[in-house]
């Protein structure tokens, strides 16, 4: 698979090892070399999905709706390589950091909204986005994905990380993921799934397209 334009493998701190990286203003104290910012897959589900060579359909320059932006670690890299990026996050404290990330990125739009209530941001987020990237740790993650399918273009992609422990800590993650995938069926055709170990325990990466 190929990485999106604007995402490259680069070496940092004189070491041989190559890391994912994007070009932009440093956001959270990450190592920087020649204007490239290291993108650590241990801190980013989407980064881990790239490391696992999943076909995300992201090529660079697309319009993205990012659900669960948190303090903007991953979304800062997405905004570096994508086009207009809408970043939804519900908790006020992380949004304070997200605002710093957005200051230096004129096409990153922070939205302090609940991803379970798309009607509260449908007047802001445009229709037919190329990708919905989802990393929310609330119960009902599949429902968040299906309710936000309305934003996706017909040939768009859902690129989501599902966390088993957010649904039920007592159940076997594999069973939780089966249920999540079954719930996605109502709105999506699942193209690829991949467990995100060793970067993230008990997470499933999913790429899907709207039905």
């Amino acid at each position: 698979m190929s990485l999106p334009d604007g995402v490259e493998r680069r070496a940092f701190d004189g070491s041989e090892e190559e890391w994912l990286a994007t070009q932009g203003e440093p956001a959270y104290g990450e190592p920087v070399a020649d204007g490239w910012r290291r993108w650590n897959p241990n801190r980013s589900k989407l980064g881990a999905m790239f490391e696992h060579e999943m076909e995300t359909g992201l090529a660079g320059g697309e319009t993205v709706l990012y659900l669960g932006a948190a303090n903007g670690t991953t979304v800062s890299h997405v905004a570096d390589f994508a086009g207009p990026t809408y970043a939804v996050e519900f908790a006020p404290r992380p949004v304070r950091d997200l605002l710093d990330v957005a200051e230096s990125r004129p096409r990153l739009f922070p939205l302090l909204k609940d991803a379970r209530k798309p009607e509260t941001y449908a007047h802001v987020v445009e229709a037919d986005v190329d990708a919905v990237v989802q990393d929310v740790a609330t119960r009902g993650q599949a429902r968040v994905a299906t309710e936000n399918a309305e934003f996706l273009a017909d040939d768009g992609r859902l690129v989501a990380a599902f966390k088993a422990r957010s649904e039920d800590v007592t159940r076997d993650p594999a069973d939780v993921f089966d249920d999540v995938l079954a719930d996605l069926e109502s709105a999506y055709e699942v193209l690829e799934t991949q467990r995100l170990e060793p970067y993230h325990a008990d997470h499933l990466g999913v790429v899907a397209r709207p039905k």
Partner: protein
């Protein structure tokens, strides 16, 4: 009715646009950039996105500030207010009961009786005074109920995870005992376990009492509802999860529903220990 956030019109009026971002809604998304250009809101998609950036950043900044004003210090004041009101209400209610008992045929105790007295029609200047005093008790008791409701509501905003695990009232008390969410977050969980049991703790440290097993967390069902032999373990497990919840609330702020399941599971195991 589906309208974009820019419907009010003026791309220069960031204040109005940011309010529209915060308060607006739509049934479904639409091609807003092109609609905005057709409507004359922006000359080009680029100009549209510039305006959108200004409006969303302003909206998020305002809302963060507003939601964070529901701060832990406000919660501390309110919890102490509830405690003061409780003391005052009880003391005055006792005075009313004693006084009214000397004037009227029926007698009673507590706030309920003070409410009855407050509802009377005074027949002379003395009755006027005792009825008036009873009215203050009634009003203060109502104020306490309102303040308690406020405490519960604020606790859920200030410390959502802690409130989920402890219930909003106990969460608020823990924040109050610690003097704030930050100090609670920085406490070792062993300290959280005995918060509110300082007298017993110092008696223990002076060497003439057993170590306290729990402080204010005693009111939690997981401590009180666990049989005495296992209560110390339950209190320790609960305090551990409450500490983690307080740290997440202070440092991260997002909701972690899985904490509740983890705690349930842990207590389940402790309670079933003696059964085997």
């Amino acid at each position: 009715m589906t309208q974009g956030w820019f419907a009010s019109g003026d791309a220069e009026d960031v204040g109005a646009l940011s309010a529209s971002v915060r308060e607006g809604s739509a049934d479904a998304p639409a091609d807003w950039p092109n609609e905005a250009v057709s409507a004359g809101f922006a000359e080009s998609p680029d100009e549209y996105y510039d305006a959108l950036h200004a409006a969303t950043v302003a909206a998020a900044r305002t809302e963060v500030r507003e939601r964070e004003r529901a701060s832990d210090q406000q919660l501390v004041h309110a919890v102490r207010g509830v405690a003061d009101l409780t003391d005052t209400v009880n003391e005055l209610a006792e005075r009313v009961a004693e006084w009214a008992g000397s004037l009227f045929d029926e007698s009673g105790t507590g706030v309920e009786y003070a409410r009855e007295v407050a509802a009377r029609d005074p027949e002379d200047v003395t009755e006027e005074r005792v009825v008036s005093l009873a009215e203050r008790v009634r009003d203060l008791a109502n104020e306490r109920a309102d303040l308690e409701a406020y405490v519960e509501e604020q606790a859920r905003v200030v410390a959502p995870n802690l409130s989920m695990l402890a219930g909003p009232t106990l969460a608020a008390q823990l924040v109050e005992q610690a003097g704030g969410l930050e100090s609670l977050a920085k406490m070792p969980s062993g300290t959280v376990q005995v918060l509110g049991a300082e007298d017993a703790l110092f008696a223990h440290l002076r060497g003439h009492a057993p170590s306290p097993k729990h402080g204010v967390i005693y009111v939690h069902e997981y401590v009180r509802g666990t049989r005495p032999e296992e209560r110390g373990s339950a209190a320790r497990a609960l305090a551990g999860k409450l500490s983690i919840a307080a740290r997440i609330d202070h440092y991260a702020g997002d909701r972690r529903p899985e904490l509740e399941d983890e705690l349930d599971e842990r207590i389940e195991r402790i309670r079933s220990r003696g059964d085997e």
